[in-house]
Amino acid sequence: MKIFSELKKNLKNDFSPLRSVKIALLGDTSTQLFTQALRGTGFDMDFDFLIWEADFNQVELQVFDPKSALYAFAPEVVVIFHSSHQLLAKYNKLNPAEYDSLAQNRLTLIGDLHNALNNSLNAKIIYYNYTEINDAVFGNGASKIASSFLFQLRKLNYELMHYAMGQDNFYICDISSIQNQLGKATFFQPPLYINAEMVLSIDVLPWVAAQTADLIGSMYGRLKKCLILDLDNTLWGGVIGDDGIGNIQLGNLGIGKAFTAFQHWIKKLKNRGVILAICSKNTEAIAMESFEKHPDMVLSRDDIAIFKINWDNKTDNIRQIQAELNIGFDAMVFLDDNPFERAMVRECIPNITVPELPEDPANYLEYLYTLNLFETISLTNEDTERTKQYQSAAKRNTDQQQYADEDAFLQSLNMVSVIEPFNSFNIPRVAQLSQRSNQFNLRTVRYTETDIKAIADSIDSFSFSFTLADKFGDNGLICAIILKKESIDTLFIDNWFMSCRVLKRGMEHFTLNTIAAFTKAKGFRYLKGQYLQTPKNEIVKHHYRDLGFEQHDGHWILDTQTCIPKKNYVKASS
């Protein structure tokens, strides 16, 4: 990780080509250096963070005044940093009879702040949790005395998680974990607090900035979706081709423990929706034997979406994995114990993340914990089904090769799609798809769950969500379209986004037919679309042209009276 002075040097760079995000930062301690660290960190993630910083200790003043500078700035993200030290200062001044209501009072304040922000803004809120301070007044007794500061602080952190669970635009940035990771002596330097009201040390500024930027990144679709793993000395100890299946190190003994624990971590990632792929230089039959027969393997064949076990170079293999999964290299992480392979992959594939695994496998996990590679802001049911979907995609590819022409193949798939307006069941997934789809996304409007709810309730908007299942498996909800009434005869396509997993299956035609028929049935005539170019949505540049829309003043128009339904083999199901 870069140190603070390096981040500060970033501030002189040209931010103009980068994606901008308006961020309001409000703290009850001095946050000027943190602002610099956050902006500098953003640069390295290709973000232009435009940060409006509230004056010192003005959190409540700014949030509760609807006419304040905060609201004039109209941020997309609001970061609130209430420090443990100011909380302790407040506690210190309380009457002892009030000590045990500290956490509850702070939670009430946080809820009030959140409501006030929601009333005037459509922003995401990031709230820092509280780093632990044990004021040592009760010794170990603090843990069973509700009026102790430590008890109240821990209660507050716990209740904050509960609160956040029930809110769709409120996120906790877990700086307490950073302090646990680095130690309080590194995190907090008392003279800085006394002399400059700073609760973050210079050395910890990049850590807190990185954690905050990761959270913001994930709000804008910057997510790691796939983990690519080497085998020998990465998933198990030893070289299976040389040592034989009976002699690789795995299980409960010695160094094998490190690899078993590592595999458990990877399995948990898979269970929460990260796609696993194997990329290893090995003889396939020998390496696969361990997945099938080794009693101490935690990962099974079914946990892995794609195997690339051969003697080709890893760069080529990773490119193939990328092509099969159809996700960006920037969404991939590659773990390999061999520094040569790591260097080569890093050199040839610029956007992929390649952590410098420590030499000793005993240190793998603790090191990976510090990187916060797999940031996420929400989880849906689809996430846990993802590996299965990619496996059936692979089967589908193999199957396709047996059919002479594409039509016959598509027909054989028995594709069925459920069409529904946005409702309480599909809202989280629609919001997630809107955040994640970068390629098949015509206007790249990102919707939050709150936005999606508002669309579902609006009388001037019409929403469509599409699922797709076929004989190989269920892809879940993969497409959404939002139409807005623009005039008496025209519906504007506010956005149209689709998962790239289902490209070339006729869904473009099926979805168009659906909205064209709807337009006619509701008494409108024209559908009006727009393509807004981003660095990632090149594949839909000619989307409207290819579907028969005509260009008109920078927009694309389809006359639903005269257009002919497009051929496809998808059946609608209700």
Partner: protein, 80 residues
């Protein structure tokens, strides 16, 4: 390390933290003489000097310096 050497090392830290090659500190230099030397940068300078010399200043010391010479004296007392 004599005070001349300390001054030279401190000068290098200033150049690095304030990102200005033209800084030439003397014992008489004050914060008013160096454009970028504001209260915010002061905190970074203090931390960088602590790291450079492997020392820690007390809060009293941090608030006591009026000119670079006094800072050099404090460092000299701590390392010699």
């Amino acid at each position: 390390m004599d005070k001349g050497e300390i001054l030279k090392t401190v000068n290098d830290v200033f150049i690095d933290v304030l990102d200005d090659e033209n800084i030439m500190l003397t014992y008489e230099t004050t914060a008013n003489d160096v454009e970028e030397w504001d209260s915010l940068n002061h905190i970074q300078l203090v931390v960088a000097i602590e790291k450079q010399f492997g020392i820690r200043f007390t809060s009293w010391e941090i608030q006591s310096w009026n000119k670079v010479g006094e800072l050099i004296n404090t460092i000299s007392n701590k390392i010699n």
